[in-house]
C-alpha cells in the first residue's frame, strides 16, 4: 500500500493535469464523488452528521484489525468528491498514521480557490472528525 505521502503526490499530479481550469476541476471532483462506496442507510442519522459543513456530510468509522475504515456520504456531489479524496488518503491505515498525517495536498492543489472559503472550512471539519475517530480507536487499542 502506498504511503500517505505518495498518495498525496498522486493527487497533486492529477490536479496539475487539470491546470487552472476551474470548470474541468469542478467536473472532475464531482466525478470522483461517484467513486464513493455505498453508505449504509441505517447510519444516515443526525449523530453521524459532521457539524461545520455547509452541505450534509455523514461519516462513520470502524476499527478493522487495527486499521481505521471510513465510510461517508453527502447530499452534494462536490462534497462527495472531496470526501473521496480524503478517504483515498486516509482509509485503512493505523490510527497513528492518520493522526500523524500532514495533509498538504489540499493546499497544494489550491482547493481554497476551487471550492471557496466556506467549503474549505467544511473540509477542515471533515479532517478533524476523521482524526477524532482515529484518536478514539488509538485510545481503545492502547487501553
Amino acid at each position: 500500500m502506498s504511503s500517505i505521502k505518495d498518495i498525496q503526490e498522486e493527487i497533486v499530479s492529477e490536479f496539475e493535469i487539470l491546470g487552472d481550469d476551474k470548470e474541468s476541476t469542478v467536473f472532475y471532483i464531482m466525478e470522483l464523488g461517484g467513486s464513493l462506496g455505498k453508505f449504509p442507510e441505517n447510519e444516515r442519522k443526525e449523530e453521524n452528521i459532521i457539524k461545520g459543513c455547509q452541505s450534509k456530510v455523514w461519516l462513520i468509522a470502524d476499527d478493522v484489525d487495527g486499521k481505521v475504515h471510513y465510510q461517508a456520504d453527502s447530499n452534494t456531489d462536490i462534497t462527495k468528491g472531496l470526501i473521496s479524496l480524503l478517504i483515498r488518503v486516509l482509509n485503512n491505515r493505523s490510527p497513528e498514521e492518520i493522526l500523524n498525517a500532514e495533509l498538504n495536498f489540499i493546499n497544494r492543489i489550491g482547493m481554497g480557490s476551487i471550492i471557496g472559503s466556506q467549503r474549505s472550512n467544511g473540509l477542515s471539519a471533515m479532517i478533524k472528525q476523521m482524526k477524532l475517530y482515529a484518536f478514539a480507536f488509538q485510545t481503545k487499542q492502547n487501553a
Binding site: 487552472d20 470548470e23 476541476t25 469542478v26 452541505s55 447530499n75 462536490i78 471550492i115
Partner: protein
C-alpha cells in the same frame, strides 16, 4: 422607452472583470445589486470632502453633511411617495426595519392572544422577529398558505383575519420565487378588520413603482443595497401617527429631546428612531442610487427585466431535468429552479466555474422550501444591466451541467 444597456453597463465598474478566466455574468441581484460609479463617487466625495457628524456640528462641514443626509431622506420620501420626510427612518437594512417594528409597535400594541398574519413565502427576517414577539407576549402567528405556483390563497388569507388580527406582515415580492403578492387587496382586507400592515419591500422596491399613500400600507421596509445603493443601510417608512405612538427602539444620542437623571424626553420622528451617529456616508451615497433609478424610470427597468425573465423561461425550459420553482402569474425578475438529481450547491458551483454568479440554497426561506418539499433552489435574478446574451450563456452552461446527471 427602451434602455441602452451597453451604456448602463458602462456605469458599473464591477461588471467588467473575469472570474475563473471567464467574463463575469452577475445574476445574484436579488442578494445584492452592483453599484454604479456615481454611488462610489458619492462615498469617496463624502469622506474626501464633507466627512463630519451631522445635525449638531457648528461648522461648515457638518452643515454640508447634514444637508446631504437630509436630501437623501427627501429623495427616499419621493421614491416611495410618502407624505413627509419625517416618516422615513434610516436603519441598517430590511431586517432591522422589521425588528424595529416588532420591538416597538409590537411590544406596545400586540398582546396576549392577539394575532399576527404572515405568509408561507416570508424571508426568515419576516418570520423570526414575530416569533420572538409572540413568545414574549403570548400572541399567535398565523400563516397564509400558498398554491403550487407560489401564490397566496387569498380566500384562506381572508379567513385568517378577525378582530384579533393586529398586524399583517407580508412580503411584496418573494426573494425565493419572485412572486408579486396582491398587496393592495391584502392591505384593504387587513384594514377592514382594523389590522396594520407591514410590507417587506426588499425585493419589490427596485422593480415596482411604489406609492405608500396609494397603497395605504402602514409600514414599508427595504434595503439600499438591493437598489444599487450601499450595504448596511435600510429604510423604514411608517405613517406619522403610528410612528409617533410607538416607543423608541434604541436609546442614546440623537433620539432625545432632553436628558436628566430623573427622566428623558424623546426627540421628534424620525430622529426618535435614529439613536447614535448614523451611517452618514452610505445614506448620502444612497441618493445617487435613487437618482440612477429615477433617470431611467422603474417602468423601463422592469420592462427590460421582464423581457430577460421571459427569455430565460423560454431558453431554460427545453433543458432536460430543468424544474422551475415558483411559476406565479405576476413575478419580479427571479428565476428559481432545480436540475433533476442535482443539489443546488453543485449546480451553483458549476455555474460559478463558468463565471456565472447565482445564489443557491434555501434563500432564508426554509418554511417555503419545506412547502415545496425541496432543500433549496438555484436562483438567477436579473437587474437592469443584464443582457439576453448573458441569459443565453447561462442556458448553454446549464444544458451542459444537466447532461452530467440527465444523460
Amino acid at each position: 422607452m427602451s434602455l441602452n444597456i451597453d451604456q448602463i453597463r458602462g456605469l458599473f465598474p464591477v461588471l467588467h472583470q473575469e472570474v475563473h478566466g471567464k467574463p463575469l455574468i452577475y445574476f445574484d441581484n436579488a442578494a445584492t445589486t452592483q453599484k454604479p460609479q456615481s454611488v462610489l463617487d458619492a462615498l469617496s466625495n463624502y469622506y474626501g470632502r464633507d466627512n463630519s457628524n451631522i445635525h449638531r456640528g457648528a461648522h461648515a462641514l457638518a452643515d454640508r453633511a447634514t444637508q446631504y443626509y437630509e436630501e437623501t431622506r427627501e429623495a427616499v420620501r419621493e421614491f416611495v411617495g410618502a407624505k413627509e420626510a419625517a416618516e422615513i427612518i434610516f436603519t441598517k437594512g430590511t431586517t432591522e426595519s422589521i425588528n424595529l417594528v416588532a420591538q416597538t409597535f409590537g411590544r406596545k400594541f400586540i398582546g396576549k392572544d392577539d394575532e399576527i398574519v404572515i405568509s408561507t413565502m416570508e424571508h426568515h427576517s419576516n418570520i423570526v422577529p414575530w416569533q420572538m414577539l409572540c413568545e414574549e407576549k403570548g400572541a399567535v402567528l398565523k400563516i397564509i398558505p400558498i398554491n403550487d405556483a407560489g401564490e397566496i390563497h387569498f380566500g384562506e388569507f381572508e379567513k385568517l383575519l378577525s378582530p384579533k388580527t393586529k398586524l399583517v406582515s407580508i412580503v411584496h415580492a418573494s426573494n425565493a420565487l419572485g412572486t408579486i403578492n396582491p398587496v393592495r387587496k391584502v392591505i384593504d382586507a387587513a384594514h377592514a378588520v382594523g389590522a396594520r400592515v407591514l410590507l417587506d419591500g426588499a425585493q419589490s422596491t427596485s422593480h415596482l413603482e411604489i406609492n405608500v399613500q396609494d397603497l395605504d400600507c402602514d409600514f414599508l421596509a427595504f434595503s439600499a443595497h438591493k437598489l444599487y445603493g450601499p450595504t448596511g443601510l435600510g429604510v423604514l417608512y411608517g405613517k406619522r401617527e403610528i410612528l409617533e405612538a410607538m416607543p423608541p427602539f434604541l436609546g442614546g444620542g440623537e433620539m432625545i429631546k432632553e436628558v436628566t437623571f430623573e427622566k428623558t424626553t424623546y426627540n421628534e420622528i424620525p430622529f426618535k428612531f435614529e439613536a447614535g451617529t448614523p451611517n452618514i456616508a452610505d445614506v448620502i451615497a444612497f441618493k445617487s442610487a435613487l437618482d440612477f433609478i429615477k433617470q431611467y424610470g422603474k417602468p423601463a427597468i422592469k420592462a427590460h427585466e421582464d423581457a430577460l425573465l421571459a427569455h430565460a423561461n423560454e431558453t431554460m425550459k427545453p433543458i432536460r431535468g430543468f424544474i422551475p420553482v415558483g411559476t406565479a402569474e405576476e413575478k419580479v425578475s427571479v428565476l428559481s429552479f432545480n436540475i433533476n438529481g442535482m443539489h443546488s450547491f453543485d449546480v451553483g458551483q458549476m455555474l460559478d466555474a463558468k463565471g456565472i454568479a447565482v445564489r443557491t440554497g434555501h434563500h432564508c426561506t426554509q418554511p417555503l422550501m419545506k412547502r415545496f418539499g425541496i432543500e433549496g433552489t438555484v436562483r438567477a435574478s436579473f437587474a437592469v444591466y443584464n443582457t439576453k446574451s448573458e441569459v443565453d450563456k447561462m442556458a448553454e452552461g446549464l444544458a451542459q451541467i444537466a447532461r452530467f446527471k440527465n444523460k
